[in-house]
């Protein structure tokens, strides 16, 4: 195992034991040898990805994914503040909970993306399609991540997508109903589906590389 992998494992362990001081020290040590952007994109991203993957295969629980993301988000805000030019904020990206009020999934994805150096708008929860269309147009959002917990909310994304048909924005969906039906994201005409925060990060990374 090379030094980077060992450091990343070390960080992962610190996150899973909720040792935020140790996690911060590991990250601070890393930025002595490379830019904060690289540390966010490699070290932190890798650790969070492995934690997300371990949840996916049943080895970890969602509370651990959540707590890890929150700790990393706090650390990254110290080494790469929100207005820092190192933050990737183009194309403009936002995240929202559509219609329902279950915010945890959004929070996990938001933390993971921010901890990986991506700056995005948090539009909140309980948003109607009219409200989202209006914000997307006004803010010229190009990548919109939508989280839902309830099946009816997931189904109504199809109507939201129809209303955004002539707007240059990619819709990335995620949440419980999609995890129980692999076909659902296609049925509602979403552009992408991320089954967890790691996949959401991969999708956003690719879209940012290609300009949305």
């Amino acid at each position: 195992m090379d030094t980077r992998s060992m450091t990343s494992r070390h960080l992962e362990n610190a996150l899973l034991t909720l040792d935020d001081e140790l996690a911060e020290n590991i990250v601070f040590e890393s930025v002595k040898g490379e830019s904060p952007v690289k540390t966010a994109g490699n070290l932190i991203s890798d650790a969070l990805k492995r934690i997300g993957d371990s949840w996916e295969n049943g080895q970890l629980s969602l509370s651990q994914v959540y707590m890890s993301g929150v700790i990393c988000e706090k650390i990254i805000d110290k080494i790469l503040p929100p207005q820092s030019p190192g933050r990737r904020n183009q194309p403009k990206t936002a995240i929202a909970v559509f219609e329902d009020f279950h915010l945890l999934g959004k929070r996990i994805v938001y933390s993971t993306l921010r901890a990986s150096g991506i700056e995005l708008m948090d539009l909140g929860g309980g948003l109607t399609s009219e409200k989202i269309v209006s914000i997307v147009k006004k803010e010229e959002i190009k990548i919109l991540l939508i989280s839902v917990l309830m099946l009816p909310s997931a189904l109504r994304i199809k109507e939201l997508k129809r209303q955004l048909a002539h707007v240059d924005v990619k819709i990335v969906v995620g949440g419980a109903p999609f995890r129980f039906d692999d076909e659902l994201w296609k049925e509602i005409n979403a552009d992408y589906y991320g089954k967890d925060s790691s996949e959401a990060l991969e999708i956003v990374n690719k879209l940012m590389e290609t300009g949305g």
Binding site: Y66, P152, D181
Partner: protein, 347 residues
């Protein structure tokens, strides 16, 4: 040899004793479909006990389900604490803004008294009406959200994780309040005529919290609470996993476990064999687009994996079938149970 036809109650009691009844019991856990039967909105449907009674009677007659399920909606319990409930036309209502806005509110939270809380009276009345009608031949399943899972609606998931991890004293205080409420609420339903209580406890699932944390928290809460509920309970994880805590669940005193489609049903049946009855695990989300043939095949496969020896009730994996699932699919499921679920189960 074909066994004599049993009543639903006999069928369920036989499987709960880990013996084979005449056929696999079917719990079609339908709630909002009652509104469809009565041709009224979901909000109007749940406004009166008589509507839910009538809806449950019609649904049971239509699909020959082996239980009545007078579950209104999960947020009714936080409604009892004073929270707002937001209805929608096409699905279950949501809890509104959390009643606990900051952790300091926990100290001032009062346990609602069941006999002084009008919204809960509707549920009790619907149970009483069903009890009178069924005369003990069909089990009536009441519902109580576990004291450990209720805080998701009382203060939101993120705050609840913070409370659980970093504010143990306040967490314990909230558990005391919720345990008192849960025990009184479950027992009130049993007194009204419920046969058993579905103890919804999704937060205890290893999908949501680590096994070690469950052992310190949700497990202890379940042991304390279930021991004071004066009737059988079914612990339901609402689609969450439970295989890795299978050794702990029987010790909570529960009789039934609701399992997820995302875990291996054969392995679950083996893990709970002769200890707990397995309830599950049809995928309610996919069910919405099943053809009748698909429904039939899935029911057959599910029965083959878990029904032998009893200790199994066919149901969905979430504890509530989505409003969007069509009647013809529900009929296909009910027909398939009769076709493939007669004991002895064919090889």
């Amino acid at each position: 040899m074909k066994k004599k036809n049993m009543t639903s109650m006999e069928r369920v009691l036989t499987t709960l004793s880990h013996n084979e009844p005449d056929r696999v019991p079917l719990f079609l856990l339908l709630t909002m479909h009652g509104a469809k039967e009565l041709g009224i909105s979901i909000q109007e449907y749940f406004s009166k006990a008589e509507n839910v009674f009538e809806g449950q009677i019609r649904l049971q007659e239509k699909y020959n389900s082996d239980c009545f399920y007078p579950f209104f909606y999960a947020p009714i319990e936080v409604e009892a604490f004073g929270s707002e409930v937001i209805f929608r036309e096409d699905g279950p209502p949501n809890a509104g803004n959390p009643i606990i806005k900051n952790f300091g509110d926990i100290k001032n939270l009062k346990t609602p008294r069941i006999n002084e809380t009008k919204v809960l009276h509707k549920v009790l009345k619907s149970i009483e009406l069903l009890k009178e009608k069924s005369k003990g031949t069909i089990p009536i399943i009441g519902v109580a959200v576990s004291p450990f899972s209720l805080p998701v609606m009382q203060l939101g998931f993120e705050n609840y994780f913070d409370l659980m991890y970093f504010h143990k004293d306040l967490f314990n205080h909230l558990m005391k309040i919720n345990e008192t409420f849960c025990i009184h609420w479950a027992n009130a339903q049993l007194e009204a005529g419920a046969t058993a209580i579905c103890y919804f406890d999704p937060v205890s699932s290893p999908t949501l919290i680590p096994k070690e944390l469950y052992f310190e928290t949700g497990y202890q809460v379940a042991k304390r609470t279930i021991s004071k509920i004066k009737g059988p309970t079914a612990t339901h994880f609402a689609s969450g996993s439970c295989l890795s805590i299978a050794n702990l669940l029987p010790e909570t005193g529960t009789a039934v476990v609701g399992v997820s489609v995302q875990e291996d049903l054969s392995a679950l049946k083996q893990a709970f064999k002769n200890k707990l009855t397995v309830l599950g695990n049809l995928n309610g989300i996919e069910m919405r687009r099943w053809t009748s043939d698909e429904a039939s095949n899935i029911v057959r496969d599910t029965i083959h994996k878990a029904a032998r020896g009893g200790g199994f009730i066919l149901s969905d994996n979430h504890g509530e079938i989505p409003f969007q699932v069509q009647d013809k699919t529900l009929s296909a499921i009910a027909d398939a149970v009769r076709e493939f679920g007669t004991y002895p189960i064919a090889e």
